[in-house]
């Protein structure tokens, strides 16, 4: 037995110990603060992103329209073939009627600039649809051209000095006379959803892009859903554990992390170059996107197959079902909610994908929606890219509006997935 001297008791209340403790607690609070600041920064950045999109995009959901009285005199519009009429003349007559006090041709040209460049086409479509108006007058709400649209929505500040504005004093005066006569209205912009793309911002809409994205997702779903489920069932339930199946597994995990543009290169080199499929077609885009979503589909399906408890398999095997019957009759039906949730999330990712579609030419300028999966088309994200690249100022708000529409679709799909999960998910 050795004598042990009791250590000198540590004086916790000494100034030195207090100072150390203070320092340590301060470090604790600092780390906590850094964490909170980081989270708030990240959320704040998301807020800035959404706020700047809403701030620039909300104006594109309404459209300045001007009520104009047109006269379809038979001289300009032949009654036997109304589509071939001279509708530019109809429009310029209408502008003259709108401003009877103007007789200078230069000033008149400025005045007709108030109406959209597509006004003649709008009148033509109306007259061909209603041939009975030939020879009569009728009033149509025609979109105002982009500068006046921006002026009316307050994007262009009327109080700025003239040389820093896109519209001159004279043009503002013309527009204000129309406002005073109550001809200007700003209804909801249905054209944003029902018009196809156009060079003129006030006429450009998303119809082509929405139809194109629909075809893309259809092809993607038809390919990646069955192939993904079949592959996942094989790998999860049937595959022997050996070097080959390990390789397949590693391969699928890595495929999920390959940059999307590489899939675009694959699509360009294989589907377009080797197989000669048409460029810009939703078929090729859908093939590329389905190759991209395939790994996600397989991973998700395997996870939901794995979550089915073994007791169900054993019960089915016990009453004499074959292995295939166990899976087809019991495991797969129970796993379907999880698989559907994963599928919707995978399709939502495919909907937002842009880069591979650029490489296979889905960024073409098209003025009508595609009629099928073999026809040239654009998609929502590529349409956003096209508009973001357009020099006209009016496309800035259109781009933001298109992004809001795309985000709307994504939120809808994800909400549906969350709903399905909560409604049908079972915990064992």
């Amino acid at each position: 037995m050795s004598e042990t001297t009791a250590p000198k008791p540590f004086d916790w209340s000494s100034p030195k110990a207090t100072a150390t403790r203070k320092r340590r607690y301060a470090a604790d609070r600092r780390l906590r603060l850094y964490g909170l600041i980081s989270i708030l920064t990240a959320i704040g950045l998301l807020g800035v992103l959404i706020a700047s999109l809403v701030a620039t995009g909300h104006t594109a959901f309404v459209q300045t329209k001007i009520a104009v009285e047109f006269t379809a005199d038979p001289e300009n519009v032949p009654p036997d073939d109304p589509a071939s009429g001279n509708f530019r003349a109809v429009v310029s007559n209408a502008v003259q009627q709108l401003f009877p006090e103007i007789d200078d041709p230069r000033e008149l040209r400025t005045a007709s600039g108030i109406l959209s460049n597509g006004a003649a086409n709008i009148v033509r479509d109306y007259v061909t649809a209603h041939p009975e108006v030939i020879g009569q007058s009728f009033t149509l709400n025609v979109p105002a051209s982009d500068p006046y649209d921006q002026l009316n929505k307050g994007v262009i500040d009327r109080s700025l000095p003239e040389e820093r504005r896109r519209v001159s004093n004279e043009e503002i005066a013309l527009f204000e006379t129309l406002e005073d006569r109550g001809l200007v209205s700003t209804p909801f912009n249905w054209g944003l959803f029902f018009n196809a793309d156009s060079r003129f911002p006030e006429l450009a809409g998303l119809a082509g892009a929405i139809v194109g994205s629909f075809y893309l997702l259809l092809v993607t779903f038809l390919i990646s859903f069955p192939v993904g489920i079949a592959a996942a069932i094989y790998l999860e339930e049937f595959a022997p554990k050996n070097r080959w199946t390990d390789l397949v597994e590693v391969n699928i995990n890595n495929l999920a992390a390959v940059p999307s543009i590489v899939f675009g290169l694959l699509g360009l080199a294989v589907f377009i170059q080797v197989f000669g499929l048409p460029r810009s077609a939703p078929l090729v885009g859908g093939l590329v996107l389905s190759l991209m979503t395939l790994p996600t589909m397989i991973i998700v399906t395997r996870a939901s197959l794995k979550s089915i408890p073994p007791s169900i398999r054993e019960a089915a095997l016990g009453i004499g079902a074959s292995k295939h019957e166990v899976i087809l009759h019991h495991v797969l039906p129970l796993a379907i909610p999880g698989i559907l949730t994963g599928t919707i999330i995978g399709l939502a990712q495919a909907l937002g994908e842009t880069a591979p579609l650029l490489l296979i030419g889905m960024n073409a300028f098209l003025t009508s929606p595609p009629g099928g999966i073999m026809e040239p088309a654009t998609a929502l994200p590529t349409q956003i890219f096209i508009w973001a690249d357009s020099p006209e100022r009016g496309f800035v708000s259109r781009t933001s509006a298109a992004i809001l529409v795309l985000l709307g679709f994504l939120i809808f799909m994800n909400a549906l997935a969350i709903y399905l999960r909560q409604r049908f998910e079972r915990r064992w």
Binding site: R24, A27, D28, L31, R32, Y34, I37, S38, I39, A42, I43, L46, L49, S52, L53, T56, V227, A230, A231, Y234, A239, V248, N251, I252, N254, L255, A257, V258, P259, I261, V262, L265, L266, A269, V270, Q273, F275, G276, L277, L291, L294, I298, S322, L351, G352, E353, T354, A355, L358, L359, P381, I384, F385, A388, T399, S400, I403, L406, L410, N414
Partner: protein, 459 residues
């Protein structure tokens, strides 16, 4: 036309299903317990064997029809046109012929072309009808054979299940084929490129000016394919992105795991995940619309001139995009550290901060590093943000205020528009793609391996 064919095949296989099931029901009525499989399996067996072969045949036919007809068309053109013509010239002929055939005539076509257009229409017609006839014949033949094979003792269930196995194995193989397809197509085109431009020039050259003349009359540079400035630009932007994302993501994860209560966590985590779900084209537009002008203005206030497509704007916005990757992977890594290590540290009198920095972070480091590597691979392969916000000219600089270009930007700009596969300009995109694929693959394999090994350590 093709749609109706698919419908016809579907109808035939449905007929096969119902007749198969009916026949088997008759066996059951006649033989009672001697029937091997349930009637539904007889039906399913017949349906699968009537539908699948015809379907596969049609798909293969559609896949190859276009390129075979193109070959035949080119072979049928008079030698005076095709002799010594380049590949791009030939594909121009093809598209002209197709335009004429579909009635989109812009100028009076030459007699050779209009004759070829007529041939094209005729062949297209023949091919389509041949496909319909062959596919329906295959389906009908299969229907006949399966009917003939059906007896009471026929093992229809085994037959059907074996077919399902084949379908499932082929689907699993498809995932591997995608990887093989990527590797082969990229390598093939890259080898074509390296025949025109020696590899050492590509990997070590300091000058990147790929805009070469495609037609003889164009005025353009002679082309220089030294990719070093492109690589450094990519690294610069990815580094900026990581400098933004790693601190924010890591500190957020630390707060969420160690300080936050469950309610706060339940609200904040999904919000951070939203950042990962926003399409990249949206980030690209955000960079152009808001971030780049803001940075320029800030630079203007400080008296620094900043390029409108500075690496800072593109990299910063990319950093926002990868915050959730870092935070959720670090979150997983921190949570995987066993509670006993925390308890041990607290028992020694350490504060929370000391526990985190001295115990948890070192223990979770491999997982965090794996996450950062995955995020880096994401940043290198990210396309839309840099296409919209970064520059096009390759400058060799480390200054984040200047415009630089990246591998993905170059791939997109080289391949948008003119894509004839015989000039170094187009092919260089595939060489860049190969480099991109190999680098991201290495990063991913490394990261996954680190993460997995680390997970095993604590399980």
């Amino acid at each position: 036309m093709t749609g109706y064919l698919f419908l016809a095949i579907l109808v035939l296989s449905l007929i096969a299903f119902y007749t198969g099931r009916r026949t088997a029901s008759q066996f059951v009525a006649a033989h009672r317990n001697d029937v091997h499989s349930r009637p539904i399996y007889h039906g399913a067996f017949a349906a699968v064997w009537v539908g699948l072969p015809a379907l596969v045949l049609v798909l293969l036919w559609l896949l190859f029809q276009g390129s075979i007809i193109d070959r035949l068309l080119l072979a049928s053109l008079p030698a005076s046109l095709t002799e010594g013509a380049s590949a791009s010239r030939l594909s121009l002929y093809l598209s002209e012929i197709k335009n004429v055939a579909s009635g989109r005539i812009f100028s009076e076509p030459s007699p050779e072309v209009s004759a070829a257009a007529e041939r094209y229409q005729r062949w297209q017609m023949i091919a389509q009808w041949a496909m319909v006839v062959v596919a329906l014949a295959v389906a009908a033949l299969a229907l006949y054979i399966t009917r003939a094979r059906m007896t009471a003792r026929f093992r229809a269930r085994q037959g059907f299940e074996r077919t399902l196995d084949i379908v499932m194995i082929l689907s699993a193989v498809a995932a591997v084929l995608v990887t093989i397809g990527i590797i082969i197509s990229l390598t093939y085109e890259a080898i074509q490129f390296f025949r025109l431009v020696p590899p050492h020039e590509f990997f070590f050259g300091l000058n990147w000016e790929p805009q070469i003349a495609i037609r003889e009359d164009q005025v353009a540079g002679t082309g220089a394919f030294g990719a070093v400035p492109v690589f450094t630009g990519t690294l610069l932007i990815a580094t900026i992105a990581l400098l933004v994302a790693v601190p924010i993501g890591l500190f957020s994860a630390i707060y969420l795991v160690e300080f936050a209560n469950d309610r706060f966590r339940g609200i904040v985590k999904p919000i951070l995940e939203i950042l990962a779900g926003v399409p990249t084209v949206v980030y690209g537009f955000f960079a152009v619309l808001t971030v780049a002008p803001a940075i320029r203005q800030a630079g203007g206030l400080l008296g620094i001139s900043i390029s409108p497509n500075s690496a800072l704007a593109a990299g910063g916005v990319m950093g926002i995009m990868i915050i959730p990757f870092i935070s959720s992977l670090s979150d997983d890594a921190l949570r995987a550290v066993p509670q006993s290590m925390r308890d041990g540290s607290f028992a020694m009198g350490a504060t929370r901060a000391e526990t985190i920095t001295r115990v948890l972070l070192p223990a979770a480091l491999p997982g965090i590093v794996g996450g950062i590597l995955l995020a880096a691979s994401r940043a290198i392969g990210e396309t839309m943000i840099v296409v919209m916000a970064a520059g096009l000219t390759a400058t060799l600089t480390a200054n984040p205020l200047e415009g630089v270009t990246t591998v993905t930007v170059q791939i997109v700009t080289l391949l948008i528009g003119d894509t004839a596969f015989d000039n170094p300009k187009t092919l260089s995109a595939f060489a860049l793609g190969l480099v991109l694929f190999v680098v991201t693959l290495c990063l991913n394999v490394l990261a996954l391996r680190i993460v997995r090994r680390y997970r095993e350590k604590y399980e």
